[in-house]
Symmetry: C2
Subunit: 409 residues, 2 copies
């Protein structure tokens, strides 16, 4: 505890040397602290406490539980909490009032069975994928509020007041969260998704360009370049595993108001589609690195004449194309070079195919080199596939530019 | 609400036709309902309410928030909640008492600043990946309890009693959850991870075997078999995206007590390693399906003589090997055939390599068929790669059998 605190203070003192993500994390923690202090002061105010009583603690609870890293997540959780509380309070009060009408032993039975039925049904709904993604937290809060309100109805009959106080204290807590999340150094889920998309382009560009080093180290007979390969693999794998975090960001981004460069109804879904295409490209790149890694015997020099140069220029062009796409998306600028890009890719594809044919011809004249040659032809073939996938991505970027109204450079 | 309830009741009536997952979901919802009723009855009992007062509501809250789908997750959340509450209560009481010593306006300042410091530090720690994975919920509860206890210290001085009552009501709620999670149709995270691993084998086996249909439809000139390919792709992608859910299950599985076939210290980490290898295999399979899909011109018949048969037998053997591995893992039985498997794979690899060589020779004599031929040789090459990866997986399965003490069949 104390050690951690010291560590934290030390990290605050070295503010300037922090990375971007680190700064965001520290800012977030300070924002949460600020919200907590505000809500605590409110709790300590006589006026508020006299009106709301112990229900004021629900404001504290709301701040702790609702304040998330991105503004969109905070809004989504807050609205879920509000809706769950209203529904739970409403139904709970109804059940409590009805139970009071019954009275006697029937009261406990009525309340118990209604808690069972609504609790089970809401829990079941939480397990449905669609509800889990967007309304999971609302369902939890519904169960919680419903049980608390209906059960406490057994004791008091001031249920309506209880429900009103609880709601207003949650509203106070949410208002504090909302204010800080929207106006104090906001972190937008939309920005995160946007950056994650353009980062993916950079990562894949780096991997494509890194493939060359595999070829180089092969030619020079080095066993090295392990670290480059590992980084390439790690890049591809991180892109492959990004689906769930992207989906979460896209979900939260739809809750966010107009901010910065993103209006309402910004096509976040398109980002998910592009993410899928990029993941397919990452899978192909992963096989390509695997393919290059499996070259167990160096093929004869003559096999590589022309092939190496062509592969190098292909990788370079693919890398620069991806990087440029990433930069354009990051800056939200449209380029009129897309058509040119596509044509270049098509030309490259034809060239590679003819390289493939000539390599194969040469291969057969050189017996014994078959295995090394096979991995090279396969690599070239995979490169052709990768070109196809990059073409798809260029087209999708064009789509995105059109749908999201990127400005022309 | 009501419609959903009706739907839920209807689904209960059709119990017999339910799938396995559906049954588990319905059972879970009933378990939660049961726990809620138990804790509500407790809340309604005069004896309990007189002792714990409104703090009894923390028991209800604990049940709602802590009860998760798997027993391991419930235990992990419950322990996190307990630890967070104890820490928060302890530090909170301390701060409240100190603030009371100071008194006057200093009191509010002391409490406010301590809430800020501890809240910010704990929030910052939540963003560290290691803590986020295992102790995220504990940190939330720590912040919550600390703020509530220290702030309410401004009003009463019965803090110790408050803290004790809150802790005991959380303990009651957790005990109810624990009892139901462990003894009423428990769903173990370990079982889920175990099944997910053996399912991955089945899915990949299906994909390997499905590749054949791509070849077949190619030969028969059909454009069909789209659905098979889509299913293969979906299988591979679902394996590729399983990393985060596997990690969550493995984390929860370590919290679970001895149950069924799994003792303490069962090597769950090994499952994650195997998952990684299977994901790599899935990436290769994805490229293979892509490769087969990209065959744009059917190659001449003569090219396929021998190739098709060999690929078919390879895919069949790979599929059956994967299926058997999956079955063995599922049954936790060891096989002494591993060595034989590896030898078969090695033989297959050599055969495929010679097929590759002869296909390439043939290819050059048939000008114009180069492109179709290139995709075929690449497919064969990728198959060789896939054999390598299956070999790795066979060896890892051997490891797992040894580490996890599978019984000999």
């Amino acid at each position: 505890g104390v050690l951690f605190l010291l560590n934290y203070v030390l990290s605050l003192l070295s503010w300037r040397q922090m990375s971007d993500g680190e700064t965001k994390r520290v800012t977030h923690s300070i924002k949460v602290g600020l919200a907590l202090v505000l809500v605590s002061l409110l709790y300590m105010l006589e006026a508020v406490h006299d009106r709301l009583g112990d229900n004021a603690m629900w404001a504290v609870m709301t701040v702790v539980v609702v304040f998330e890293f991105t503004s969109g997540a905070t809004i989504s959780k807050g609205l879920n909490r509000g809706a769950g509380t209203i529904l739970g309070c409403g139904l709970g009060s109804l059940v409590a009032l009805l139970a009071q009408e019954i009275g006697g032993a029937g009261k406990a039975v009525a309340i118990g069975s209604s808690v069972f039925v609504f609790g089970a049904a809401a829990t079941y709904s939480r397990l449905a994928p669609n509800i889990k993604k967007k309304y999971d937290y609302g369902a939890v809060i519904f169960i919680l509020t419903f049980s608390l309100v209906s059960v406490s109805g057994v004791r008091g009959d001031q249920i309506i007041k209880l429900a009103r106080d609880r709601l207003s204290s949650i509203a106070i807590g949410f208002a504090i969260c909302l204010f800080i999340a929207l106006f104090v150094f906001p972190v937008w889920a939309g920005d995160e998704l946007h950056n994650s998309l353009s980062n993916k382009f950079d990562k894949l560009a780096e991997s494509v360009e890194g493939c060359l080093e595999g070829y180089d180290s092969l030619l020079e007979g080095k066993k090295g370049a392990e670290s480059t390969r590992d980084r390439n693999r790690a890049n591809c794998l991180s892109v492959l595993c990004s689906k769930s975090s992207d989906e979460a960001f896209a979900n939260f981004a739809t809750w966010e108001p107009w901010h910065g460069r993103f209006g309402f109804y910004y096509p976040w879904k398109k980002y998910l589609h592009m993410g899928d295409s990029l993941r397919e490209l990452a899978a192909s790149l992963l096989s390509l690195t695997g393919c290059l890694q499996s070259i167990q015997q160096a093929p004869q020099e003559c096999l590589l004449i022309g092939v190496k140069e062509r592969c190098e220029s292909t990788c370079k062009l693919l890398g620069s194309t991806l990087r440029e796409l990433g930069r354009n998306i990051n800056d939200m600028k449209s380029h009129q070079q897309r058509e040119k890009n596509l044509e270049e890719l098509k030309k490259l594809r034809l060239e590679l195919c003819s390289t493939l044919a000539s390599t194969m011809k040469m291969l057969v004249n050189q017996n014994g080199a078959i295995e090394g040659g096979a991995s090279i032809t396969s690599s070239v073939f995979l490169l052709v596939e990768i070109i196809d996938k990059v073409e798809v991505i260029v087209k999708e970027t064009e789509d995105l530019e059109r749908v999201a109204d990127f400005s022309l450079k």
